[in-house]
Symmetry: C2
Subunit: 534 residues, 2 copies
């Protein structure tokens, strides 16, 4: 689908003209970190429509590995090619273009070891989990603020400050603005600061991008990277009701051009994930085949294979398709019980992230009225199912002059859940390598962990007063365990006195040799962490 350069012709031209046209590109840095970003800046034609007419790419090689990467037009005669090196050492490049000024630019640069906060891009790990490229585990703790990058600068800075102080390490965010106002109310629209195409809002020129829009987006993605936050970029969404801005009914060619442009601009940012669409099935006039095609364009355009998902409304996309890296699910009911939350795992054999399990909020719409307890419970249920949760809040505060909600515009968090999610993140970080996996799936056992290493049992709303010590799978008599009682809501971890030694398997389980039970408080949201000590 990608327009192909006539490379033989270009190379023939190059070898003829080499002496005259070789110039060293102006690169911002000649030294760059592994998984950092190397940028070639070129000056070229500004006349006509460079977005449509100029093709530009560069081939990078370190002698072992070769990658060809698309460039893009950034306005005012400026062209850029960005590259994220995945190996240290010497790299060289050569550009190819349909414009002679941009062709056969060559250069070299040094890729050095990553700094301590740079673990590379995140990818799937151990089928159901995630890790950074350097194999540092990545435990998803996501939130959503759809159009936080469409607000005045000062407000965006406030959002960043909030994020910095939050536990969140992934942010779902729309590239495009939405027409929804503060209270899902068209009568109170909040027009965005910028539009992705030339033309003000209602009359876009689909053949010319607005570089300033994308420069701003990039800055915000970089801000997130600096905070250690993955940017889960939503490429399309249905919140352009009645086609006000023309962003939800572009033709196929425009969609492809847009995807190739944003991927060329942003794929070198290691913290980028691609969410092909939000509530894809609510986008009118699009079929599954359209989303298949858009996925495939991303696969073709992205040289690094960043994570790819698509988020559902009421219909679920076939996440078994090979271009989907993980399931990004909206289904609050599924995330409410461990048994239900498990089911998508086996269907997809991929990581399952309940990116939308409904929101902590006080709205009269039923998807925006979870209590803090409800939301934190769903995160724990998702965890105890071997999956991941996703946060946002829709708390509208009449005394707050900002008149916005976190879900839509960012700003400040007002809910009770973020500090509890920080507590859960600590549990995840102290969990077993390989991730929390269901121990006895399809049997109502809300236990995850790694057999014989660590078990996390989450009782949710059951509120038991005691729990008979018994374990399942991968065990031998004589193994010893310590037990901690966790209060998921009150954020306490209380060690239980003594060490529990298991006997031979009886029916399906190993019991404590002394037949002991653990005494619990009879409150909801209790959990046990059981860790092997011998």
């Amino acid at each position: 689908m990608k327009p192909k350069l006539n490379l033989p012709r270009l190379l023939a031209l190059a070898s003829t003209c080499f002496a005259f046209f070789v110039v060293t590109a102006s690169a911002e840095d000649a030294v760059v970190e592994k998984w950092g970003r190397f940028e070639i800046l070129l000056n070229g034609p500004a006349e006509g429509n460079p977005f449509m007419e100029v093709e530009l790419e560069a081939t990078f090689t370190n002698g072992f590995e070769t990658k060809t990467v698309s460039g893009f037009y950034d306005g005012d005669g400026v062209y850029r090619i960005r590259f994220m090196p995945e190996a240290t050492g010497e790299w060289r490049y050569r550009t190819q273009s349909s414009a002679w000024e941009l062709s056969n630019q060559v250069g070299e640069f040094e890729v050095v070891a990553p700094s301590s906060d740079n673990h590379g891009p995140v990818s799937v790990y151990n089928t159901y989990h995630f890790a950074y490229a350097d194999e540092t585990p990545y435990w998803v703790m996501g939130t959503t603020s759809y159009t936080w990058t469409h607000r005045p600068a000062e407000f965006e800075e406030l959002t960043l400050k909030t994020l910095e102080e939050s536990p969140f390490n992934k942010l779902r965010m729309c590239v495009f603005p939405q027409t929804h106002g503060t209270k899902m109310d068209q009568s109170q629209p909040m027009p965005p600061e910028r539009f992705p195409f030339e033309g003000e809002g209602t009359d876009p020129n689909y053949e010319r991008f607005n570089p300033e829009f994308f420069q701003h987006l990039e800055m915000r993605v970089q801000n997130l990277q600096d905070l250690g936050i993955e940017a889960d970029l939503i490429l399309f969404h249905p919140y352009d009701d009645d086609h006000i801005w023309g962003l939800d009914h572009m033709d196929d060619a425009t969609e492809e051009r847009y995807i190739r442009y944003i991927v060329a601009r942003l794929s070198s940012y290691r913290n980028v994930w691609w969410s092909i669409a939000n509530e894809f099935d609510f986008v009118r006039n699009k079929t599954d085949a359209d989303w298949d095609r858009n996925f495939q364009v991303v696969v073709d355009a992205d040289p690094y294979g960043h994570l790819r998902s698509i988020h559902n409304g009421k219909e679920i996309y076939d996440n078994n398709k090979p271009w989907v890296t993980h399931a990004s699910i909206q289904n609050g009911a599924a995330a409410d019980t461990v048994t239900a939350a498990q089911l998508y795992r086996d269907v997809y054999r991929k990581p399952v992230v309940y990116d939308e399990l409904e929101y902590e909020g006080n709205h009269d719409l039923r998807w925006a009225q979870l209590t803090g307890e409800d939301l934190v419970h769903r995160f724990w249920a998702a965890t105890a199912a071997g999956t991941y949760g996703g946060h946002s809040e829709f708390i509208f505060d009449d005394e707050d002059t900002s008149q916005v909600v976190w879900l839509g515009q960012g700003g400040e968090l007002k809910g009770d859940s973020p500090e509890r999610l920080a507590f859960l993140l600590e549990i995840l970080e102290n969990g077993p390598l390989g991730g929390f996996e269901p121990i006895d799936k399809w049997h109502w056992d809300p236990t995850v962990g790694q057999p014989g290493v660590q078990y996390l049992t989450y009782f949710g709303r059951q509120a038991p007063e005691e729990w008979e010590f018994k374990l399942y799978k991968g065990l031998e008599a004589g193994m010893k365990f310590k037990v901690e009682i966790i209060d998921a809501w009150n954020m306490t971890i209380t060690p239980v006195k003594g060490v529990f030694e298991i006997g031979e398997k009886k029916d399906y389980h190993h019991y404590d040799t002394k037949g002991r039970s653990i005494q619990l408080d009879g409150k909801p949201y209790q959990a046990l962490r059981i860790t092997r000590v011998n």
Copy 2:
């Protein structure tokens, strides 16, 4: 994949030799019902290995529609070609074969309207449900008896008598025998009466089928058809522990030959469904790719497109693949709550049948110890999720000299669930056309039906004492409804006095204009049937 006949050569031969070799085939009947079976019987070579060496097929046409159907060798020099006509009127055929005696046999026959009990084969209807070819609804009420066709004749007749008196209209059954004995116990094996290949059990000759084995199977499939029961034939299974009979580790070519042979023999039986495997993931040394291939062989070989599924153990096959017509799920936990039971529907957008939701039984294995209440509850939960359940029982009775269980060998039913399932089947049969569909999915509402027509709400283990009358979706103020209280366990239907009229929508629901609630018994397994009366 199908071996191709050299048709041009055969036709050239045919036109040369026509005067000498044309004979009318001996067909059992010259008049056959639509969706009945027309059989051509031919005598041909018995020497060598006809299973491997002789190719035979016939092309049938009524002038509008043409179908080419494979024949098969039935031993003793006898060849058969079976055809299920799907349209009334005059049909003709001509055979093609690699053996000259079997070639260019022609004939004609009359297809008449089906008799009253013949509704044709079952296929998918309204995405999530089933109907016969004449559009008569088919409500799945399935049971399983894996190897009932491998017992002495008298015992098989007892199984048929039991089925005749039961509510079941689908039977899951293995083609191959299993090595398991009465109590899942290898020390008490029950050797089968016949093996599918020549050679006694442990040393099969994979190149020669045993026609008697298949003749017997066909007789039993026909017996089921006569009782109005669909035969969900399991082509492969893992219950040949340690490869005792060599039926779970055939090579690819043998598997394909077996599939083509059984499909040629049985696809003309209108009540056949193909279950590619039972607990496919427990068959050692097979990968998903093997099952993909076997599905594709069935698709290629079956001229009628009978229903196709594959049944899981602990891993779930990708039921979104195009050759899967419906999901045949083993997951008792999923079928235990309406919310969980719904989830596979949206994933697959196909009918979901919980063919194994665990068994009513008294075994010490935990998948065989449901109470009657548990099993009936799961059927109702599946129904209230817009899916279907599947029954079997594993009740071992020391006083019973037969020493068998229904799940394995058939015989008699001993459990409490069948009569309650007959009651549920009546509810299904009196449900709305189009099937019971979730009314407010992903919102814990255990209600199915068709908006504005009929609603079925199943409270399961909740045991409420009252229920505020409110309805969701597809409604207008002024619609009137009658209400019946159903006791799923005690099999009673109690009309509620009065007619309920709904007002305007308030938040998400329409309430009774008089604000009434329905008084319930506070017992588990209650349901409401709410039917529009104006």
